[in-house]
């Protein structure tokens, strides 16, 4: 307990003869104390900035222009990542690939999170047959191995960013739904919810206005981690040739042929994978940092 001369922060305490500085504790404040998580946030913000502003400084034709005379060139000052098997600038392809991959990962994670929250809410709060049906559905989807399911869906669908977003989003909500369901089951027994119900507040309003805000923390954390999972999944699908089709670049399909050409130019394989690694790492650190920052049991 620190006794310090105070300004006008707490006149009430001042009259008691106690003088203490009052500081507002915010989630960002707690988050930023974790330096690793802060670094992760900065890296991700930079990546997002680069991806969003890409059309302004890296025209799309750089992705498609081929220089057949200089294929497999190593990195140089004009081409930071070198040239690929068709003589295309790998850096430009990486930037635009990242734009696409990040967009897909983010959108599909959003879709999964929203779907998972809705289903979890319905199952957790209303119980009964709604819960039974949703539980069966969750079990059904979770019993098929995720990658196998993705491969099947991607193989039978027309490969396009939209279909990949839909596939990832529609098949990855069960885990979050289970989590939300658990939270709602626990929260609906709280006294203030009981009170609201007895006064006659409509169920919809109770769920949305009263329970949901208290369940947001694990939803946000898990949603963040889902972004990392979807990023890796999209890369894996595209790597197998079932996702984004060349010549449209995505971080996954940049690696598809890299294995065949690894003798000609190892850089083709190193850079896209490194980008995926760094991004996933930062997203995981972000999620972990958020979890620690929002944990009510830890005093900052």
């Amino acid at each position: 307990m620190v006794v310090e001369p105070t300004t006008s922060a707490s006149p009430g305490l001042g009259t008691l003869g106690l003088q203490r500085e009052v500081r507002r504790v915010t989630i960002w404040g707690r988050y930023a104390k974790n330096r690793l998580a802060l670094l992760a946030f900065i890296v991700l913000a930079a990546l997002a900035l680069i991806s969003i502003t890409a059309p302004l400084w890296e025209p799309y034709n750089h992705v498609l222009d081929q220089t057949r005379t200089a294929t497999f060139s190593p990195p140089s000052f004009s081409h930071w990542f070198g040239l690929d098997e068709y003589g295309r600038d790998v850096f430009a392809r990486a930037v635009w690939g990242g734009r696409l991959s990040l967009w897909i990962a983010f959108s599909s994670a959003l879709l999964s999170t929203v779907l998972g929250t809705i289903f979890g809410m319905l199952a957790g709060y209303f119980g009964g047959w709604i819960d039974a049906i949703i539980d069966r559905l969750i079990e059904l989807i979770l019993t098929i191995p995720f990658l196998l399911l993705l491969i099947l869906a991607a193989a039978v669908a027309r490969p396009s960013p939209t279909s990949i977003i839909l596939i990832l989003g529609l098949f990855d909500w069960p885990v979050l739904a289970r989590l939300v369901r658990g939270e709602f089951l626990a929260l609906k027994r709280r006294d203030y919810i009981e009170a609201a119900r007895s006064v006659g507040v409509a169920p919809t309003r109770i769920v949305i206005r009263h329970i949901l805000p208290n369940a947001m923390a694990p939803i946000i954390v898990t949603g963040t981690l889902i972004v990392a999972i979807h990023l890796t999944s999209e890369a894996a699908i595209s790597f197998l040739g079932l996702g984004i089709q060349p010549p449209t670049p995505s971080w996954g399909n940049l690696l598809t042929n890299a294995q065949n050409y690894v003798i000609a130019s190892p850089f083709l394989a190193i850079f896209p994978g490194l980008l995926i690694l760094i991004t996933v790492l930062c997203v995981n650190l972000l999620g972990d940092g958020l979890r620690d920052a929002m944990d009510p049991r830890q005093r900052a």
Binding site: L152, A269, G273, L285
Partner: protein, 315 residues
């Protein structure tokens, strides 16, 4: 416990039936079908249609499904449309390949992750702990296909120590040493990634257990630290790992799909990619069923082991 097991198994049957129907419909109503993949590319439309009729692929979906399930009930897994061989033969060839890959890497991951996790927890916040945390974070984030390619780059292309892929050197008779050399890198990839995840779980579980009162009591009683750790803390901390182990059973069946692609490993994972791309329904359904059964069994074994390890748990 027997009744519980039976109940779980009975509950699983409608689940598995449901999965088979959904997957079958997914393949059936998708554009394109196996006939065009199974036949030579120079065939014209009429020949493809003839072949389709010969295979019975133009029957309504419920009749095709009934035929498949009818075969299953007689113990016949059907014939692969693409390979024109019995599905069971194909599976018999590939299962040992995947089993040795996933089995070995799971074993090594377990042998590595448990001590690493315990060490990290016991020496929390030390240099060792930080180093382990950083490495395991990277291990979790690294894409398996990239790790595989990097290892190939390093060990095969640069140093020529190991072959780039396949299960054995072509043209030479089978030798264990040769096979082990081919096995090394794919197992390494799977082990690294698996160890990273499990050591994190082990660490957090161990920390949770060590903070509990009974551990403090054991220490206060004067038990040597090692005994406290091994006899009391570890036993309780290992439970989440048991669950994870049970949940990793499907990988044994689903195959390490990406790793098998990279290293051209003739396992179930590679099979599933080919079958999915070419719409080979009997093979796909057999694989999905295997995966489904293994998940059900894996979950069941994990729950039963929980009960054995901690008798307080009510099933």
């Amino acid at each position: 416990m027997v009744r519980y097991t039976l109940r779980r198994l009975l509950q699983a049957i409608p689940l598995l039936i449901g999965i088979s129907v959904i997957v079958f419909l997914m393949i059936h109503f998708a554009p394109g079908d196996a006939a065009q993949f199974a036949i030579s590319e120079r065939a014209n439309e009429q020949q493809v249609q003839q072949y389709r009729h010969y295979l019975g692929l133009d029957l309504p979906w419920y009749r095709q499904y009934a035929r498949l399930v009818g075969n299953w009930l007689h113990g016949n897994l059907g014939t692969s449309i693409i390979e024109r061989r019995p599905v069971s033969t194909i599976l018999m060839e590939r299962i040992p390949r995947t089993f040795e890959l996933v089995g070995l890497s799971t074993l090594f991951a377990l042998l590595l992750a448990l001590p690493i996790g315990i060490l990290s927890a016991v020496k929390q916040y030390s240099m060792v702990d930080h180093a382990v945390t950083v490495v395991s974070f990277i291990g979790i984030a690294i894409p398996s296909f990239w790790l595989g390619i990097m290892l190939i780059l390093l060990l095969s292309v640069t140093f020529h120590w190991l072959p780039t892929g396949g299960t054995q050197t072509i043209g030479q008779p089978f030798s264990l040493g040769d096979h082990l050399k081919h096995l090394l890198m794919p197992v390494a990839v799977l082990t690294i990634i698996q160890t990273a995840t499990w050591s994190r779980y082990m660490r957090s579980s161990m920390l949770e257990v060590m903070a509990q009162d009974f551990v403090r009591t054991a220490k206060a009683k004067g038990l040597p630290n090692r005994l406290v750790l091994m006899r009391h803390a570890f036993r309780n901390a290992v439970m989440p790992i048991i669950t994870l182990l049970g949940l990793s059973l499907p990988t044994l069946v689903g195959g390490a799909i990406i790793t098998e692609q990279i290293f051209a490993w003739n396992g179930l994972g590679q099979l599933s990619v080919t079958a999915a791309t070419k719409r080979d329904t009997p093979v796909i359904l057999a694989l999905v069923m295997m995966a489904g059964v293994s998940i059900v069994i894996g979950n069941l074994v994990a729950d039963l082991t929980y009960r054995i390890v901690d008798p307080r748990i009510e099933l």
